[in-house]
């Protein structure tokens, strides 16, 4: 496993694509701060330390669209380029290979989220200075706040990891970067559209729609961090009927486990003909 991890991490450091995706996410974080700063009611959420929680909330919007690109191309290109052959003729353990690559992507997510928090710190300070406020709002930071921040960070990672995993699994199963990315992003969009359609078809369909993965993933971060944001602001609002963070944790774990089992089964059984 360590040889695979070292191999994948080396590629991660050298490949331009993850850095481009990170740069885009960081740019969008800044834009999100800018947009939120122009809203009078939500501006206070941007001042540190609340700004960190706001940045994690923004991850809900980025996660379904950027991490699938990273995961889909990471896994799918191994087949598209044919490098899977070169890898497996050196170390034949396919399961270890796909899991090691996934682990490296999940670790990269952590660094990505920490980078988002770092950029959020700068953005929060800039907004504070431009609006004549203290760069660090006093009286908020406490042990309780730090706990929520930590939970928020873990939740942002968990939600991001789910969207990353779905694209990764699709890319591996269909041996294609395009399918991985397309399925990763497209399935989220499809769920959102289907949700609206099914809700009009009656209670049974409504129940099905309520258990779509995107329902659990969408507001999970907000569920965790809203209590420490300014009450009544848009970032602190949770839609009625939204699953609790605990329910979302369990549901996404089940969906992830199913996806993983399908992927590992396919990887184990099939021939490498790429």
């Amino acid at each position: 496993m360590t040889a695979f991890l070292s191999f994948e991490w080396f590629k991660m450091r050298k490949r331009p694509m993850p850095w481009v995706i990170l740069a885009l996410i960081l740019a969008l974080t800044i834009l999100a701060f800018w947009g939120q700063a122009t809203r009078g009611d939500g501006r206070a959420n941007l001042f540190l330390p609340r700004g960190w929680l706001a940045a994690l909330s923004f991850c809900s919007f980025f996660a379904p669209f950027f991490w699938p690109v990273l995961a889909g191309s990471w896994a799918g290109n191994e087949y598209g380029w044919g490098t899977i052959r070169a890898v497996l003729t050196r170390r034949p353990n396919r399961i270890t290979h796909v899991l090691a690559a996934l682990v490296v992507l999940l670790v990269a997510l952590v660094f990505g989220l920490l980078a988002i928090l770092a950029v959020a710190s700068v953005a929060g300070i800039v907004v504070s200075l431009l609006t004549g406020n203290d760069v660090f709002t006093s009286g908020i930071m406490s042990g309780d706040f730090l706990l929520v921040l930590l939970k928020g960070l873990l939740t942002a990672w968990y939600v991001s990891a789910f969207f990353l995993l779905i694209a990764y699994v699709a890319a591996v199963m269909f041996r294609s970067a395009a399918v991985g990315i397309g399925f990763g992003i497209g399935s989220t969009l499809a769920q959102l559209v289907l949700q609206h359609i099914l809700r009009d078809l009656g209670a049974t369909w409504q129940t099905i729609a309520d258990h779509f993965p995107v329902v659990y993933a969408n507001d999970m971060i907000t569920q965790v961090v809203w209590s420490k944001l300014v009450p009544g602001t848009n970032l602190a609002s949770v839609s009625p009927g939204t699953p609790s963070a605990g329910q979302s944790l369990l549901a996404l774990a089940i969906y992830s486990a199913i996806a993983l089992v399908l992927m590992l089964g396919a990887v184990r059984a099939r021939d490498i003909t790429a």
Partner: protein, 330 residues
């Protein structure tokens, strides 16, 4: 534990096997042929890609694996390397079973299957570094490997900018990275220019000289003829012929005779008890007889007043033989 590869000298001419890898040449792995397949079969639904293949490659030889496109060569190589699972049959590499000892086999086997595949965003050096990490190999020998395959000047360029020949050479370098005992090379000359093909031929010979075993598939039959000890020709999933190149091409048991009067010479030679057959081919005769009968033939014809203008051992080209065997001569 990392395996040092610094034994590669800059000119690439010194030993590739100075220090065997930790797992090599020990225990059960030390005995048996380099490759031995028994009734190895691969089916894709109703299609039989490889049909009860029995292949034997001895250690230390260069073995040519030939066949027209779709004959099953690449599928066989994929099975030997664990990429494709056999439907039935067994295969042993370096005395170990591909079913149970594949990781150990691959530590001692270098491979190039079909097109050279590397990460396009990495340089030549970084690609080798990546695979050195994967194989837990010391990276200090990478420069020597690049020198060996003549890529030193392009080492820092991205793989995506390489020509096909450069990609091919990098793939051969990567296959040699962990100093394997056995090399499985699928079309290594693909994309190489004439000079590159000659270099590849020299490299193969050098590897053989150092005790490596090479299984090589190629459509460049002229090269195969010159570098391989033995060959197998596949057609439609089956090995149709397998043996020493010289034996298969009939060298040593026929002579080409040029004379003025072909009819007269045919009549004379047909009467000799040690001649197994005389066939007329355009302006010459092909006489089935041992090579050491050349002087006797000369004397016999001269005694009958027929004088030879040319006499040499019959040499059929591998290309012609291949076409004859695979039924594609027409």
């Amino acid at each position: 534990m990392a395996t040092p590869v610094q034994d590669y000298a800059p000119n690439g001419l010194t030993s590739l096997t100075a220090d065997p890898p930790p797992t090599s040449r020990s225990g059960a792995a030390g005995s048996g042929p380099a490759i031995e397949t028994t009734e190895l079969t691969k089916r894709y639904g109703p299609i039989i890609a490889v049909d009860h293949l029995n292949l034997l490659v001895e250690r230390g030889e260069i073995f040519g694996f030939l066949g027209p496109n779709g004959a099953g060569k690449t599928t066989t190589m994929r099975m030997l390397l664990g990429l494709v699972r056999p439907t039935s049959g067994t295969a042993r590499l370096l005395g170990m079973s591909i079913g149970s000892d594949l990781p150990a086999i691959l530590t001692r086997t270098g491979a190039l299957i079909e097109n050279p595949t590397f990460y396009p965003y990495l340089s030549g050096t970084d690609n080798l570094r990546a695979f050195a990490r994967l194989g837990r190999i010391d990276e200090t020998g990478i420069a020597a490997i690049l020198e060996l395959v003549d890529l030193t000047r392009a080492a820092s360029r991205r793989f995506s900018t390489y020509s096909l020949g450069m990609k091919q050479r990098l793939a051969v370098g990567a296959a040699l990275l962990h100093r394997p005992d056995l090399l499985i090379l699928d079309e290594p000359a693909n994309g190489l220019d004439p000079a590159g093909i000659v270099e590849m031929r020299d490299l193969m010979k050098r590897l053989k000289g150092e005790g490596h075993t090479v299984l090589i598939s190629s459509h460049v039959l002229h090269e195969i003829e010159h570098i391989c000890d033995r060959i197998a020709i596949m057609s439609r999933g089956k090995v149709v012929v397998q043996g020493k190149v010289g034996d298969l091409l009939g060298r040593g048991d026929a002579l080409e005779v040029r004379v003025e009067s072909l009819e007269e010479a045919t009549r004379i030679l047909s009467g000799a008890p040690w001649v197994q057959g005389v066939v007329r081919e355009s302006d010459r005769l092909v006489v089935s007889a041992p090579l050491d009968a050349a002087a006797t033939i000369t004397k016999l014809l001269a005694d009958h007043g027929v004088y030879i203008s040319g006499l040499k051992p019959r040499e059929q080209s591998l290309e012609q033989y291949f076409l004859d065997v695979t039924g594609e001569a027409q």
